[in-house]
Amino acid sequence: MADAAFLALTVITIGSSIAALEMRSLIYGSIALMGTLGGIAGFFFLLDAPFVALFQLAVYVGSIAVLILFTVMLVKRELIFKKIEDKRRKFAGIGLMLVIMVSLGAVFLDSGIKTITTDESPVDFRDIGIDFVTYYWPALILMGLILAGSVTGALILARREDVENDQRIS
């Protein structure tokens, strides 16, 4: 059962990610991206991490994909994209991806991941939370500061008033 679910999720995730790259229509591309992100959430479910899976759904599918969709709908794509159709670029991209994947796989296989026992009980998210506020508290504070800094930066960027309308178009 888990194998069938794993295979189905793999097909959905990889298929929709290829579709997200290759689709001519940007809207369909972003819908396919949602499929990819949802498939990753499914992998987290299979890995006994429903907490991460539900956050993946709520944040990535629910917010970030919506943001992308919304941006795509409002943008006239002829203005920002210059189509460069080139066979060589495509094959070079595929080759680069293969090289990266093979090297990453080699690193993974070389590490101690093969000795990890797979039938252990899943880690409770409460334990992760307790670890975060006790032993790893500097990391938590750092993450909070980075997020707060980025939100403040976004607010400042959004409030900029020195950009004129004619400058925006160019």
Binding site: M34, F55, A58, V61, G62, V66, L69
Partner: protein
């Protein structure tokens, strides 16, 4: 002579019926019966009175009224029943349909009208049936330049998201479709799907009014999700769990609204905005943009979106009840089942009928359902009332409210919850 069918012949009619029956029997025995058998081969059948239930046995039982109840009982414990009928879709759709009628009558009374009146003779109780038949029989018109796959899929996806939301709501102890350990997070994840479906439906219609309505809906839903999530964190802090059944069970002595009224108010306001109810009905503002993102939907597509909207309304009201009003908890009002009927049977004159499988329902379950439905209907009426009272707000006021005031109040609520936990009022060593 009949005007409707001038060439009617009784012999021809009977011949047609016999013809149909023969074809039906042929197709059923060749295809349908093997198919049923194949399905039964896979589905585990229940064991009743130490005997495995086969289809033949089930037909025998059904013919005997005193042996029907065990089958019904076995059916009630299946997942299919839970999803389709009781805590899931059927129950919610029934309450949603009741809500539509209640809304029309209530609004009419508030505005000194009569509302639906003629259909069904008594206060227009058959109006809903008539509306449903009208929607089903209407033609579905798709705009010529619409993006057809998305346009067709959007209403179905909307109902599916609403049904997924409904599936997470615990109605009575143990009566919930999906008892997820992180139920509240699952609720947040499901709520995130509504803006996607809305904006896709609005965009795919390729028309101005739906697109404006869709953009408004997106702004409104996404910006009110944040105070919605923050306002519920207080309840999570004082209960220490995300499971909705456990949250409901933790309120056996008092509901959380007594301790966290600020969170309840913030959640109620965000709920109105998420549901696009007046005063936050900008996405459907019928006096400005026809019907907002629903403008191009017709026939049963519109009907599906309406069904989804009211399922969502029920689910939000039920979530309010579960989180703040104590869920199914309430004083026991349902009388206990007279056990002598089960042990000695019912005496009807000279006959004594012994019926197996009684009692069919738990006393606790019936009581839970009673209180849950009572509270949910009360919350639904509170959601409906502003429609008769308030005008629509402007979009900048709406967003200002969501981003500044409600988020601030939600943080106040979180600090109240923290203070209650750390002061020892609630939590370990406290009241509970």
């Amino acid at each position: 002579m009949s005007v409707i069918a001038p060439n009617f012949k009784l012999s021809g009619f009977i011949k047609a019926i016999i013809n149909d029956a023969v074809w039906f029997l042929l197709i059923f025995s060749l295809i349908g019966f093997p198919l049923v058998m194949m399905v039964l081969f896979v589905i585990p059948m229940p064991v009743i009175d130490g005997e495995l239930l086969t289809p033949f046995l089930a037909f025998t039982y059904l013919a005997d009224p005193s042996r029907t109840l065990p089958i019904v009982q076995a059916f009630m414990t299946t997942d299919m029943f839970k999803i389709m009928a009781f805590p899931g879709f059927g129950f919610a759709a029934l309450l949603a349909a009741g809500t539509i009628f209640l809304e029309r009558k209530l609004l009419a009374k508030l505005q000194l009208r009569v509302g639906p009146f003629y259909c069904g003779k008594v206060e227009g109780i058959l109006q809903l049936l008539g509306d449903g038949l009208k929607l089903i029989s209407k033609e579905i018109i798709i705009p010529a330049k619409a993006d057809k796959p998305i346009f067709w899929a959007a209403p179905v996806l909307f109902v599916a998201s609403a049904a997924a939301f409904v599936a997470l709501i615990p109605v009575a102890p143990g009566w919930v479709v999906a008892d997820v350990d992180m139920g509240l997070l699952a609720v947040f994840a499901v709520i995130g799907f509504f803006p996607i479906v809305t904006i896709l439906s609005a965009w795919s219609a390729n028309s101005k009014f739906p697109f404006i309505g869709g953009i408004r809906a997106l702004f409104q839903m996404v910006s009110f999700e944040i105070p919605l999530i923050l306002s519920l964190l207080g309840v999570v802090m004082v209960t220490g769990t995300l499971n909705l059944s456990e949250i409901a069970a933790s309120q056996s002595s008092f509901p959380w609204i007594l301790f966290l009224p600020v969170g309840a108010i913030v959640f109620f306001i965000t709920m109105l905005a998420e549901l696009e109810r007046i005063p936050f009905d900008l996405p459907e503002a019928e006096s400005e943009i026809v019907a907002g993102w629903l403008t191009e939907l017709s026939g049963m597509m519109y009907g599906l979106v309406q069904l989804g909207t009211y399922l969502k309304l029920y689910a939000f009201a039920a979530l309010f009840v579960v989180l703040f009003l104590g869920g199914w908890n309430g004083p026991m009002v349902v009388p206990p089942f007279p056990m002598e009927i089960a042990t000695e049977g019912i005496e009807i004159g000279p006959i004594t009928a012994k019926i197996a499988g009684l009692p069919l329902f738990d006393q606790e379950m019936l009581n839970g359902i009673f209180w849950f439905v009572l509270k949910t209907v009360a919350v639904i009426i509170f959601i409906l009332l502003p429609r008769g009272v308030f005008p629509r707000v402007r979009v900048d006021i709406l967003l200002n409210l969501g981003w500044t005031k409600l988020i601030g109040l939600a943080f106040v609520n979180i600090f109240i919850a923290l203070a209650l936990v750390y002061a020892g009022v609630l939590g370990p060593g406290g009241l509970q």
